[in-house]
């Protein structure tokens, strides 16, 4: 039905809010990144000075390197674990729904809660290391969270724990959508279960891999809460991510232009893979 006045009128507040508070704000932040804003927004245009300063900052390169380490491991491990759990659960196990609930419940928790729980679990003074010592394994050592070279891996552990159940659920839905005929044919030919997975099922899960990748990658770039709760960026700045950098420079160090520039780069990083993904998804919908 062609829209009359009323539907358009009722749709317009949402349109306005999205246009202003998303796209308008993105434009405004981009604009700020080309000014000399410090504590308050300024309108003095200074070209790409903030980007030059940003790219020269050690804190930024540490944040970007940390993000690279974190994102690669987080995406890789969460996908592998998610797929592995999905395949295990797919073997017609008893208590399937209980197991799925157990693997998925961390998704319902706030990253602040997850961070708090893992913060003390990984703390050598009270957590795992101490438990192992008390159990008699005196030489067990696990001090990553206090070690500036290793602390970022603690962020990976907690983030994987939180999200791999979700990846499992995605893969499980994918596994159950795989065409059964090919599988039966392969089985008649005497293929083993692992061969069937490797050669027939997993190659058909391409779409799930892509979706999982896009979701995990954009989660990695946005990650903020978990780092704050788990390590607060420390020890030192060893677990800073671009999100932490942005917050610090904008709201604590009064370098708003640099903070704005960093958030523009975060947006670009996400846009690089989200926009192609969205376009292909929308094309799929259009062409059935």
């Amino acid at each position: 039905m062609k829209a009359g006045f009323l539907p358009k009128l009722l749709f317009s507040p949402s349109v306005l809010l999205v246009l202003i508070c998303v796209y308008g704000y993105i434009a405004f932040t981009m604009y700020l990144s080309f000014t000399d804003s410090t504590m308050m927004p300024s309108t003095t245009f200074v070209g790409t000075a903030a980007y030059h300063r940003l790219l020269g900052l050690d804190n930024w390169s540490v944040s970007v390197r940390n993000l690279a380490t974190f994102a690669v491991l987080y995406i890789g491990v969460a996908m592998a674990l998610g797929l592995g759990l999905a395949i295990l659960i797919d073997q017609r196990v008893r208590a399937e729904s209980l197991l799925r609930s157990i693997f998925l419940y961390p998704m319902a928790l706030s990253f602040i809660v997850t961070g708090t729980a893992w913060k003390w679990l990984l703390d050598p003074g009270v957590g795992l290391e101490r438990s192992m010592h008390l159990l008699g394994w005196e030489r067990f050592s696990f001090t990553w969270i206090k070690d500036s070279d290793m602390a970022i891996y603690c962020v990976v552990i907690a983030a994987v724990w939180q999200t791999s159940g979700f990846v499992m659920a995605m893969f499980l839905a994918g596994l159950r959508g795989v065409d059964g005929e090919q599988i039966n044919a392969a089985r008649v030919d005497g293929a083993r279960t692992w061969q069937i997975y490797l050669k027939i099922i997993i190659p058909q899960l391409g779409a799930v891999f892509v979706s999982a990748f896009v979701i995990l990658a954009h989660t990695a770039i946005k990650s903020y809460d978990l780092v704050i709760a788990l390590t607060n960026g420390g020890p030192g700045r060893s677990t800073w991510l671009p999100s932490v950098f942005m917050y610090q420079y904008t709201f604590t160090r009064n370098e708003m232009a640099v903070g704005a520039a960093s958030s523009v780069l975060m947006l670009l990083a996400i846009a690089i893979f989200v926009i192609p993904y969205m376009l292909s998804e929308m094309r799929k919908v259009k062409h059935g």
Binding site: M1, A3, G24, Y25, T29, L175, T250, V274, M278
Partner: protein
């Protein structure tokens, strides 16, 4: 959680394998799943067990062991007397704040999503596809990019540092999701029902109120759960736009755990973390099926 898909027919007992071989494989399968389940449950076990211990027992004992002297004192302390920032308020006022933020924000964003989904699927007008795509993209943006102008806007509107401000922010950035959910649901809604209602003279709100909404229970539940979980768990907006009187629970918990000076009261931290987790955990346990559906709908866009 109920199954949505039937399992693929993978024979459990291979024809070519002996029974002993098969049961060994099954044993390994269950062992692997059991280990994974223990790892997944461990942090919550540690949280609960240690929230019921006196502090001495944590410092001198094992984080994995059950309490020797059971106590609910850490819970009482986390709830009503623990130091948040400089005030000994406990988490209670912030727990209430979170509800004051979440309930209106979820209600408004869900209603707006239903309305948008209805308009986008039942009416044709120029630019509707582009607008939907524009709304969809908001789901992915890193919110860091809007923090500075939003802080300014909240100041101009006079709602900086207030519950109202946080409701506003969470509604604005929730519309993308809620519109997506309802739009996809209504796109698959039987067109004859809508058409015959119109023939009977139903107007704009008649179709929405008498035909669509009464048949929308599943998607309303999915949307409400999704929004509730997201907004309850929000930290970035809370940390950026609230002050002491309007902290949501996540910000207060982080304050409790990370800015405490002196003795670290692990047991109180664990109790506090559990209190902050409780509402979303309860929602998950009661309606896990819908929670998963929301995750899936949120993950397969378009």
């Amino acid at each position: 959680m109920a199954d949505v898909h039937p399992p693929i027919a993978l024979p459990v007992k291979g024809v070519d394998a002996g029974a002993a071989h098969v049961s060994l494989g099954r044993a390994a399968l269950y062992a692997a799943l059991a280990v994974a389940a223990i790892v997944f449950l461990l942090p919550v076990y540690v949280m609960v067990v240690n929230s019921l211990k006196p502090l001495d027992e944590i410092r001198n004992g094992n984080l994995m062991s059950l309490p020797h002297d059971w106590t609910i004192a850490p819970w009482l302390s986390a709830w009503s007397t623990a130091q948040i920032g400089v005030q000994p308020t406990g988490l209670r006022p912030f727990f209430i704040n979170s509800f004051l933020i979440v309930v209106p924000a979820v209600a408004i964003s869900t209603l707006v999503g239903a309305l948008n989904g209805y308009i986008l699927t039942q009416f044709k007008f120029r630019g509707s596809t582009v607008m939907f795509a524009a709304m969809l993209l908001t789901v992915f943006i890193p919110f860091q990019i809007v923090l500075i102008p939003m802080a300014k806007t909240l100041g101009l509107l006079g709602i900086a540092g207030t519950i109202k401000g946080l409701i506003f922010v969470n509604v604005v950035y929730g519309i993308g999701f809620t519109t997506l959910f309802f739009r996809n649901y209504y796109a698959a809604f039987p067109a004859e029902l809508v058409r015959s209602a119109r023939m009977d003279g139903a107007k704009f709100f008649g179709v929405l109120g008498r035909i669509l909404l009464p048949n929308s229970t599943p998607i309303i539940v999915v949307t409400v759960i999704w929004q509730f979980t997201n907004i309850w768990n929000d930290f970035l907006f809370g940390a950026s736009f609230s002050d002491f009187s309007s902290y949501p629970i996540t910000v207060a918990l982080n304050n409790l755990v990370n800015s405490s000076t002196g003795v670290k009261e692990y047991n109180v931290h664990f109790a506090g973390a559990f209190i902050a987790a409780l509402p979303t955990l309860v929602v998950y346990l009661v309606s896990g099926k819908y929670f998963v559906r929301g995750l899936m709908a949120g993950s397969v866009k378009g």
